[in-house]
């Protein structure tokens, strides 16, 4: 018996103790899974040819390599870029100075809540930048570096920025709790701008950016292919509803230009939401067109730098002007609305053509004054207004097999206050609607953990732990109310919430809001549907025609 090892001896071989160094000295792990792949050099070369001076040297490099092949003058470039932005953006200077480190934000970030990594506390993540600000730009910081927690820009500091400013989805939940209203998202934006100057970037963001600059959308789809894909969906809508809908592209002289994220056109399950838009517009006989150039509402420029954000956004007004549209209707997207609501007027408002007017619903006559500045209206406001005025014949029982909850996407919820309209729509198209707990919805909503260009599979673990707070609330309503579908109004959500739900609340599917509208929309009096937009038979409907046998099952 005396041979039994002592408790402490037994555990010597198991490394379960956390690092004992202070948070700032704890070394960063650069092994794969902790970062997104850097941009392909040709993407950077292309962007350099279009917007010179913002990208640093195009090169092959990996964050797991010791040498990141930074340009020789990288330190000067970053410090000068920092100084320039402090002057240019008063918010940045204010946010650098004003934080009193009260800690109100510390446990508000989904990445911190899921990971327990102190550098994911917003106050400390921002401190990675603020410490350099003090060390480089303030007198006290220069003299009393240790005492004021200041440090100068060194390579390991920059490398740490790369890891942690790509673990912020710019969701702004922390800002909600900050007594000073410090917008951490804007700090992340600035840190990313500075890193771009020395060629630290990610392909998940830069490839869509460069594609957008060429063809207008993230995947680089050209007009003819775009049309083919839309035609497929027109066929599918006919299969489900028997109705052949119009899908006008690049037609001049219509009142409305419709712009939605391309994820709705290319990615499952966004396509069902896209079919929902087409069906709704056809039902209304709406005077609209889409554009194969403004074929992307998303703007990964907003995850890159303000120059690209402005350039990519410009196509919205350019196409409205070219096609002679009076106003723009925008689809279900997250960061597109942050850009439109918060930056578009400042960036490109002066390019609005004289033909553009404040959005007015041609069906109800409602004038949307809230969109007077940008001339761009959110489709959920448009649809909620239609329902309010009794313009849609809806049969919510077609969604009776669904027990629905709603995920507030950070940008429309916190970024533009779109809280009640989506709920109003959902409650009219579904009979079973349940809210997740209040500390996880509306303004306090938890991020999907895939926003701001982080929705890539190589960091799946980071996304899943960041998605824990949302998944945990979802699991709760799944267990309590039998929820089996989470609706949202964001294309990145529609992609990233699927693995999140599969992992944290298996059995819950994800859909856009207008997919459910399309299910419920009664096109003609007495219309009977046998299947939903996904071509799955509605409960109680037997598929009589299903006598098909897979070829390899047929008898020889």
């Amino acid at each position: 018996m005396s041979n039994i090892p002592k408790a402490d001896e037994l555990f010597k071989s198991i490394d379960y103790t956390p690092p004992v160094t202070g948070w700032m000295e704890t070394p960063v792990d650069f092994s794969p899974g902790h970062w997104c792949y850097p941009a392909k050099p040709e993407k950077i070369e292309y962007m350099e040819s279009k917007l010179p001076g913002l990208w640093g040297p195009a090169r092959q490099w990996l964050p797991s390599d010791a040498d990141w092949k930074l340009p020789p003058n990288w330190k000067e470039t970053v410090v000068n870029g920092f100084r320039e932005r402090l002057k240019k953006f008063r918010t940045l200077q204010l946010f650098m100075d004003i934080c009193v480190r009260c800690g109100a934000c510390a446990d508000k970030c989904h990445y911190f809540i899921g990971s327990g990594d102190p550098k994911n506390m917003p106050v400390l993540r921002a401190e990675l930048m603020r410490s350099v600000y003090r060390g480089e730009f303030t007198l006290a910081g220069k003299i009393l570096s240790k005492l004021t927690g200041s440090r100068v820009m060194e390579e390991h500091v920059l490398k740490e920025w790369f890891i942690y400013f790509y673990q912020c989805t710019q969701c702004r939940r922390c800002s909600l709790f900050c007594p000073y209203g410090i917008d951490t998202a804007e700090m992340t934006m600035m840190a990313r701008e500075l890193m771009h100057l020395v060629g630290l970037n990610t392909n998940w963001i830069m490839e869509p950016v460069s594609n957008c600059n060429i063809t207008g959308n993230h995947l680089g789809i050209q007009p003819h292919a775009f049309k083919d894909i839309v035609d497929f969906m027109v066929d599918d809508i006919e299969e489900v509803t028997g109705r052949r809908v119009k899908a006008p592209l690049n037609e001049k002289g219509h009142e409305i230009l419709f712009i939605t994220p391309s994820g709705d056109v290319f990615a499952d399950p966004g396509i069902y939401t896209f079919m929902g838009y087409l069906l709704l517009f056809d039902y209304l006989d709406l005077d609209y067109t889409m554009s194969t150039y403004a074929s992307e509402g998303g703007n990964f420029g907003s995850f890159t730098n303000n120059e690209v954000m402005k350039k990519l956004n410009a196509k919205m007004y350019a196409e409205a002007n070219r096609l002679g549209c009076k106003w723009i209707l925008g689809g279900e997207c997250g960061h597109m609305w942050r850009v439109v609501h918060q930056y578009m007027d400042t960036m490109n408002g002066d390019t609005q053509g004289p033909q553009m007017t404040t959005p007015k619903s041609p069906i109800t006559g409602t004038v949307f004054d809230t969109a007077a500045a940008t001339k761009m209206l959110h489709i959920v406001e448009f649809t909620a207004d239609l329902i309010k005025h009794g313009k849609l014949n809806l049969d919510p029982s077609r969604n009776d097999h669904l027990r629905v909850t709603f995920h507030d996407s950070c940008n429309p919820a916190r970024g533009m206050g779109l809280l009640d309209e989506p709920r109003y729509v959902l409650k009219h198209v579904c009979n079973h609607f349940f809210e997740m707990p209040p500390q996880t919805t509306r303004e306090q909503t938890f991020c999907c953990a895939g926003g701001s260009g982080l929705n890539t599979d190589e960091i799946m673990e980071i996304r899943l732990r960041g998605g824990l707070p949302r998944g945990n609330a979802l699991r709760y309503v799944q267990e309590k109310h039998g929820v089996n579908l989470m609706a949202c109004i964001c294309a990145i959500d529609r992609a990233t919430l699927i693995p999140l739900a599969d992992y944290w609340a298996p059995g819950v599917t994800i859909s856009g809001t207008h997919e459910l509208v399309a299910n419920a929309l009664v096109l003609e009096e007495g219309e009977v549907r046998k299947m939903d937009m996904r071509q799955e038979p509605l409960p109680g409907v037997e598929d009589e025609d299903d006598d098909w046998t897979p070829p390899n099952m047929e008898e020889a």
């Binding site: 327990g116 990594d117 990615a267 707990p437 992609a495």
Partner: protein, 175 residues
């Protein structure tokens, strides 16, 4: 008094101590915040640690419901398998129960000559560890599968356009 009934008398206290050891596998700053925030929606990891250690303590004492044990382990392992832990760190929480039991009972039981009882009970903890390996591996496999599925979904329309997916329902080939 059996060892089990001895444990049962102190189970709330032991569960709490075990939870505390698990919490200490996270950095110091985090322990402070997670120790303070009691809302299970704002602090799901902290809440899950407390909930599962409590549940498991009951279930081990009962030793009758293998599925219940697996369900409870799954809640915590699902979290720790996506956190920044090595596999051994992720599952260390099971062995921390062993550490706790030895810290609490080894000396007195040695003095009383009852170490066999402790060892017999530890076999149950070893069983937990083996179940945990399976659950951890299942979680990791799920993550890899989700990565592949996601890539396929992201370009579903393009694959269809390129004719790279066979849509058997609309097959019009002659064969």
């Amino acid at each position: 008094m059996t060892f089990e009934s001895q444990l049962a008398e102190r189970k709330a206290e032991l569960a709490e101590k075990w939870a505390d050891l698990v919490l200490r596998t996270y950095p110091k700053e985090t322990q402070k915040v997670w120790g303070r925030q009691k809302d299970r929606f704002q602090n799901p990891v902290g809440a899950t640690i407390i909930e599962t250690t409590r549940e498991l303590m009951d279930l081990i004492l009962e030793w009758a419901d293998a599925e219940g044990i697996a369900r409870s382990l799954d809640k915590l392992i699902r979290i720790r398998s996506v956190q920044d832990f090595s596999p051994s760190q992720a599952l260390s929480f099971v062995f921390l129960l062993k550490k706790l039991l030895r810290d609490e009972f080894f000396q007195p039981m040695k003095a009383e000559g009852g170490l066999e009882e402790l060892m017999r009970f530890e076999a149950k903890v070893d069983n937990l560890a083996m179940m945990s390996f399976d659950i951890y591996t299942k979680s990791r496999e799920m993550i890899y599968r989700m990565r592949v599925d996601e890539v396929k979904r992201a370009q579903s329309s393009l694959l269809r356009k390129a004719g790279l997916v066979a849509d058997v329902a609309v097959d019009s080939s002659a064969d």
